[in-house]
């Protein structure tokens, strides 16, 4: 596996705010990676840094083996679909689609045309006037048809209805299967995309909390439910991610249980609940369990 992105000790601060704080990671080639985290966690800043739309305060970034700053050879391999993309005032949908091929050497016009039909985009609609959903769909079309070797989608679904979001996920998977490339998907709708992701980065307050294969995160936490005493006895000194309780009942989310531990919990009369990727991220980033990452990487 080769890394298309290599980030070392990257920091970006605006005044006293550390939007990205000492982050290091690699993105392997031809993977779909989920960049997950709360609003203001630093996801957009991180992607802006990788695409040379912002300058780093410190640290290093290599994209396709070189710094992306003012580097046309690197930048033409990138596509960054931003939630708040700005277009010239009088631009219509067709103008966006007509200019996109100038920036993306791998642009596929037939694919773009097909997507325009499927997303029912009005070609003569002005970018300023069309609905939020249609605006997002234009970004999705450009991001997919660009076939850029490294494509970033920053919450590309705002205003898209469930049908259009599913269409986006389906076309992304389909086209990715035929034309493998590196995709970074930043999203809040974790449950919707969790099956599409091969790798997951979780960022919170500018710091990287999780850098792990999606399949490793599945089953890396479980919820143990039962009588308070029995639960406490089972949990013992384990890392607790979350604790709930009512009366004599307790529900505790703990890190990684293997098969033997699961069996032990069941024979102690405890029920085991699943923790989805979304719940895991919520519990990791709700500010109570910062030590959990050590548990995961152990």
């Amino acid at each position: 596996m080769t890394a298309v992105v290599e980030v070392r000790d990257l920091t970006k601060h605006y005044g006293k705010v550390h939007a990205v704080d000492g982050v290091s990671f690699q993105l392997e080639e031809n993977r779909i990676t989920g960049l997950l985290g709360r609003n203001g966690a630093g996801k957009t800043t991180l992607m802006s840094l990788l695409t040379a739309q912002e300058f780093a305060s410190s640290g290093s970034i290599e994209v396709f083996g070189a710094s992306p700053l003012e580097n046309a050879a690197v930048l033409q391999q990138l596509c960054f679909i931003k939630e708040s993309q700005k277009y010239p005032d009088d631009f219509k949908v067709k103008h966006v689609l007509r200019t996109a091929p100038w920036f993306f050497p791998h642009w596929d016009q037939r694919f773009a045309d097909r997507l325009v039909t499927e997303f029912r985009l009005p070609l003569d609609g002005r970018m300023k006037k069309i609905s939020r959903g249609q605006f997002s769909a234009v970004g999705v079309v450009v991001g997919l048809a660009s076939r850029a070797p490294l494509t970033f989608f920053d919450e590309p679904y705002l205003g898209l209805d469930a049908v259009a979001r599913q269409l986006f996920y389906d076309r992304l998977l389909e086209d990715y299967a035929e034309h493998p490339r590196t995709v970074v998907l930043s999203t809040h709708l974790i449950d919707e995309v969790s099956d599409l992701l091969e790798h997951v980065l979780v960022i919170d307050s500018g710091k990287l909390l999780v850098d792990s294969a999606a399949d490793e995160l599945r089953g890396s936490a479980a919820t143990v439910v039962g009588g308070r005493e029995a639960v406490d006895r089972f949990v013992g000194t384990r890392e607790v991610l979350h604790r709930d309780g009512i009366g004599g009942l307790a529900s505790v989310t703990v890190a990684g249980l293997d098969d033997a531990e699961r069996a032990a919990a069941r024979s102690a009369g405890l029920e085991l609940g699943q923790v989805s990727l979304q719940q895991l991220v919520v519990r990791l980033t709700s500010g109570t369990a910062t030590d959990f990452t050590e548990e995961l990487s152990a």
């Binding site: 099956d195 992701l197 399949d215 599945r218 699943q274």
Partner: protein, 121 residues
């Protein structure tokens, strides 16, 4: 998809189930990784990992340039494996629950026989 287990394992199990059920007979071609991915809406790499698991186990084999096929004898081997697991996965928990409710092993056997009769009639 079950959230608590890796998807690639679940993919492998699905294919195994189809082989056991006879939907995928031996020496027939299984869908491609990309077809699995599109149908189940999962990452193609994950689907590939699930298929890879079965290739390693000798359940599937690759014909160069054509695709994946079910190996001869795959069904019998899977059945043998599943029978071994049946005890741990079904019989042991059944007896544990019975003990909790004060149902003796003999009663359990009687219950099984009765249920079987009802189902047959």
């Amino acid at each position: 998809m079950d959230e608590s287990r890796p998807i690639f394992q679940q993919i492998a199990e699905r294919i195994e189930n189809d082989i056991i059920a006879g939907t995928l007979p031996e020496e027939t071609q299984v869908p491609s990784t990309n077809e699995f991915a599109a149908f189940l809406r999962i990452n193609p790499a994950t689907a590939g990992k699930g298929v890879g698991l079965l290739v390693e186990a000798g359940i599937l084999y690759k014909k160069r340039g054509i695709g994946m096929f079910v190996a001869a004898g795959a069904r019998d081997r899977l059945l043998a494996e599943r029978r071994d697991r049946f005890r741990d996965q079904y019989v042991a928990p059944l007896l544990a629950e019975a003990r909790k409710l004060g149902i003796t092993s003999r009663d359990v056997v009687a219950l099984i026989t009765d249920t079987q009769k009802e189902n047959d009639s």
